[in-house]
């Protein structure tokens, strides 16, 4: 592994805690000659919302795909820490990464459309159920330990259905729910895996302002009440600026900024990446962010 110099442009006022939840070090992902992610390093603290932003094609989703085991990184080390253990994600299979405590949602909704909302939440808890059911045998025999595990799974599913306001739609097929409901159900399903880190790929995409506000509320609730870190890819800058503790900015596969929302918002490199040229750093960047969103840059 090479130790390339840190190319981050702005100063980093943010100092991560001693043992970050997630450590991404020198992550590089090449597809043939194309370098989709180029030597990116960042850390995510437990209990923080860390946003990854950047123009289209910046490599944000590729980072997620590396983290969740869809891609095997060309170079880099990805460490997830929790439950007193350290997992090196770049060496693990998808399902083992998920079991280690990584949960993810997609840009396009990927619920199991022909399962009920309730079942979608139960299927996410299958690991403890499989163990308790002695790989199905005891489950069929209906032993007590299995009945208890199942009751626990049902309870957790109920809890999340209530949180996302879908109790009365529990038995409907997930595919028949409204768009905003599906988005929230996806996050609830990810939470049912009881993760350490929740990776959300554009959860606000396609939501109307009210649904967007509900989503923000849900994310803040998750961070506050459940001991989980959140990694967020999002184009909706109003959401990002409001709820993130820290922002990592990517452009053309490289990290160009990393820091608190206030610091990132004013960074010249970020403005250049979004608008194509560097103009005065004294412009009101909040307005800029809104302009960018309204101009459809996040579409």
């Amino acid at each position: 592994m090479t130790t390339a110099p840190d190319t981050t442009e702005p100063a980093r006022p943010f100092s991560p805690p001693q043992r970050p939840l997630l450590d991404v070090e020198h992550l590089t992902m090449r597809f043939g000659g194309l370098v989709a992610v180029d030597d990116v390093s960042f850390a995510a603290a437990p209990g923080d919302i860390t946003a990854i932003i950047g123009p289209n094609g910046a490599g944000k989703t590729t980072v997620f795909n590396c983290l969740t085991g869809f891609y095997r990184p060309s170079v880099g080390r990805l460490a997830l820490r929790g439950n007193g253990r350290e997992y090196l994600l770049e060496r693990m299979e998808c399902h083992d990464i998920a079991r280690a405590g990584m949960a993810r949602t997609f840009q396009s909704i990927r619920l199991f459309p022909r399962m009920s909302a309730f079942e979608n939440l139960v299927v996410a808890q299958h690991n403890k159920l499989m163990r308790a059911s002695g790989y199905t045998v005891f489950g069929l025999l209906g032993t007590r330990s299995y009945a208890e595990a199942e009751a626990g799974a049902v309870e957790l599913a109920r809890y999340w259905l209530e949180k996302i306001g879908l109790v009365d739609r529990a038995d409907d097929d997930a595919g028949n729910l409204a768009y905003g409901q599906q988005r929230r159900l996806e996050i609830a399903r990810a939470m049912c895996t009881e993760p350490l880190l929740l990776c959300l790929d554009e959860p606000a995409a396609g939501l109307n302002p009210r649904e967007s506000a509900e989503l923000e509320e849900l994310l803040l609730f998750v961070r506050e009440r459940h001991d989980v870190g959140i990694l967020l890819i999002e184009h909706d800058m109003s959401v990002v600026m409001k709820i993130s503790d820290r922002i990592v900015v990517l452009d053309h596969g490289r990290k160009i900024a990393d820091g608190t929302p206030a610091a990132v918002r004013g960074a010249p490199a970020v403005i250049r990446a979004y608008l194509g040229e560097a103009d005065g750093a004294d412009t009101d960047t909040h307005t800029r962010a809104d302009t960018r969103r309204d101009a459809g840059m996040g579409a």
């Binding site: 990927r110 199991f112 022909r114 399962m115 299927v123 059911s133 069929l140």
Partner: protein, 308 residues
């Protein structure tokens, strides 16, 4: 006699027995199609291997002097389920899993290749001649009589129907109610997403093949008991018929596979009873063609077959 109700009942009983065999095999096709989206054309051969394991187990038990029928049946049933399951597992592990990410055509051609391979494997090891087995379950009781035409329901037929019903109930329960079944349905709808929720997709697929093989092995045992003679080639036609049954019922749907099996069995038996035996296959396949024209997703299939 041909026009009597008793004759009809007699043929229907035969048809239901036959349908049980087709249904058991068809579930394997439908489960595998559901989860990996391929037609496992070697599945008929798994059924044939189930029949061979059964006959070898029966002869071994006979050689050892175990002749108490219920115990012998139980032992043979367990033996054929276990050994055939190993074949089903190995088939997936070594022939299909390496091709998991290849185009579907590659898997399909491999399936046909495995079918030919397994046929020849059994032919080589067991010889090409018919293997007869003397009657294991005899007798029955009379349920109807018309003059000197007697309709009997044999104990064998009762055994077959009970076994089939119990197995189908158990598997419906596994798929519908257990964590394993939920994993299978999740993999069926979105394999990548399932793995992101911690589902071990490869193991789930393996278990699906094992489940299919277990059901096919029971079908093999039942076939052996019912017809008393097997050879290395029985998997071909039975496999095609069961595949037809799965498509007729709606491929991917487990109740559909059962219904399709039953219908194909009934059509065959009734056609043989009332028309000509030679054309029974033509009748069965004609029904398939008609169903596919008017209901391409099969009788119980979901119209939405879009795969993400």
């Amino acid at each position: 006699m041909l026009g009597t109700f008793e004759y009809f009942v007699d043929q229907a009983i035969n048809g239901i027995t036959l349908g049980a065999i087709y249904g058991l095999i068809a579930i394997g096709y439908t489960l595998v199609y559901g989860i990996v989206g391929m037609i496992n054309f070697a599945h008929g051969e798994i059924f044939m291997i189930g029949a061979f394991v059964s006959i070898i187990a029966f002869l071994t038990l006979g050689f050892l002097g175990l002749t108490w029928v219920p115990l012998a049946l139980l032992l043979v049933l367990v033996a054929t389920m276990l050994l055939t399951a190993v074949y089903g597992w190995a088939l997936e592990r070594f022939a299909y899993r390496p091709l998991r990410r290849s185009p579907r055509l590659a898997a399909l051609i491999t399936a046909i290749g495995m079918s030919i391979f397994l046929q020849n494997y059994v032919q080589l090891l067991q010889g090409a001649r018919n293997k007869p087995l003397q009657q294991v379950i005899g007798g029955g009781f009379e349920i109807m009589r018309e003059g000197d035409y007697v309709v009997t329901l044999s104990y064998l037929q009762i055994f077959i129907l009970l076994l089939t019903v119990v197995l189908m109930a158990v598997f419906t329960l596994v798929i519908g109610r257990t964590a394993l079944g939920r994993e299978q349905r999740a993999c069926e709808q979105d394999r990548d997403m399932a793995s992101l929720l911690g589902v071990n997709v490869d193991r789930t697929i393996s278990l699906t093949f094992v489940m299919g093989a277990v059901l096919a092995s029971v079908a093999g045992l039942v076939f052996l008991l019912n017809y008393g003679v097997i050879d290395f080639y029985i998997g071909f036609l039975a496999g095609i018929k069961a595949f037809t049954a799965a498509v007729l019922g709606g491929i991917g749907s487990v109740p559909g596979a059962m219904l399709g099996g039953l219908l194909i069995g009934l059509i065959e038996a009734l056609w043989s009873g009332y028309f000509t035996v030679e054309y029974k296959d033509v009748a069965a396949f004609s029904i398939l063609v008609l169903v596919l024209i008017f209901r391409p997703t099969g009788l119980l299939g979901t119209p939405d077959v879009e795969k993400v």
